[in-house]
Amino acid sequence: MATGVRVLFNDFRVPLRSWLTVNSAWGQVTGRARYSQYPPAYIKPVYLPAKLEELERSGDAKQLEYTPVRAAYNTHTSSVFHDPLVRKFTNHIMKTGNKCLARELVEKAFQEVKRVQLQKRNTAETEEEKEAIVCDPLKIFKQAVENGRPVLQLVPIKRGGVKYQVPVPITDHRSYFISMRWLKEAGREKERTIHFPEKLARELLAAARNEGRVVKKKQDLHRQCEANRAYAHYRWS
């Protein structure tokens, strides 16, 4: 990275938050699962090499030496190319278990993103402009998901035969899920000549710049929440 570029992304305004540092039970090794084929003593396998190193450094690895471990998913790999957010997104796109197709679509979308960005970079004149253009599709994808995350949600509560849309705080998991769902839906919209990967690539680039359908949907949701703020005061019993 050149010294002149202080901020990683010049176009993107919402700061990036690491997917792995989200305060959730997903990162934890032990944890109580509601419905599981395994007894509660069985721990989740640690497949990320960084986490394994951390366990060994802190000494927790010794404690977990003789604990029974659950079977690992095929998709949880310690490969350099593995990303948990991309994995989640691929699973969401997948229909009727067709993981092959889902993965192909996501990879094609990323290729398209890279193509577009490379073209921009090659046509840019100054060195600074060239540095500013991000070509890593993974970074753009993460930024797009972050920019599309809503801050709160509307929950329908029925009282006296009327359904009120009450603004309510949202959990991290749900916000990520909603953002990814909106990206997928934006990729599935009309234009029959343009296929899903190309559309998705377009949407990812737009969302990373804080423009496009996904960000508009998020802002519309925020506007509606603000309009319905009166309902938030009630104590719904």
């Binding site: 919402v14 309510v168 705080p169 959990t171 938030a232 019993s237």
Partner: protein, 163 residues
């Protein structure tokens, strides 16, 4: 013989009619004037030999108190009314909304308000989780104003009602 509203005969009258009929025991007269609907002999009006005050037939036949359920308090409290779906962090939400309105829903300019709102929500979630765990284990903090139904049942279970 006086008559009730709408040309109907009162219950006591009907009772006396049937008694008269029974005494006379003539089948022809019984079939024409006998009451077709059954009488509730435990009715308040029959027991106390009263008539309804408003002159109308009672919608529900009054009956003496029979006490189907035991006249005793239960040793447990139901948790149905406990789940008050209150909206947490309303104040932070409103502050955030005012910031949104000012900056035309630009999230980047309202990052502080959003952070405080999310922190409040996270705090609320952790508190709920802790309380639920305490309830499950039956741990009680002395001096707490409101106890959950599980904790109350634990206390009530110590001093049960005499059988």
């Amino acid at each position: 013989m006086t008559q009730g509203g709408r040309g109907r005969i009162s219950i006591t009258q009907q009772h006396s009619i049937t008694q008269q009929q029974a005494r006379r025991s003539t089948p022809h007269q019984l079939s024409t004037t006998m009451r077709l609907t059954p009488l509730n002999l435990r009715s308040m009006y029959l027991v106390n030999n009263q008539r309804p005050k408003n002159g109308r037939r009672a919608t529900r036949v009054p009956f003496p108190f029979n006490g189907c359920l035991p006249l005793q308090l239960r040793d447990s409290v139901s948790g149905k009314s406990e789940k008050l779906q209150s909206n947490p962090c309303v104040q932070e939400m409103f502050v955030m909304f005012s910031c949104f309105k000012k900056n035309d829903f630009d999230q980047a300019l309202c990052s502080k308000e959003i952070q405080t709102f999310e922190a409040c929500h996270l705090n609320h979630l952790t508190n709920e989780k802790r309380k639920k765990e305490q309830e499950r284990r039956g741990v009680m903090v002395p001096g707490e104003k409101r106890l959950a139904h599980k904790q109350l049942n634990h206390l009530l279970g110590r001093y049960k009602q005499p059988v």
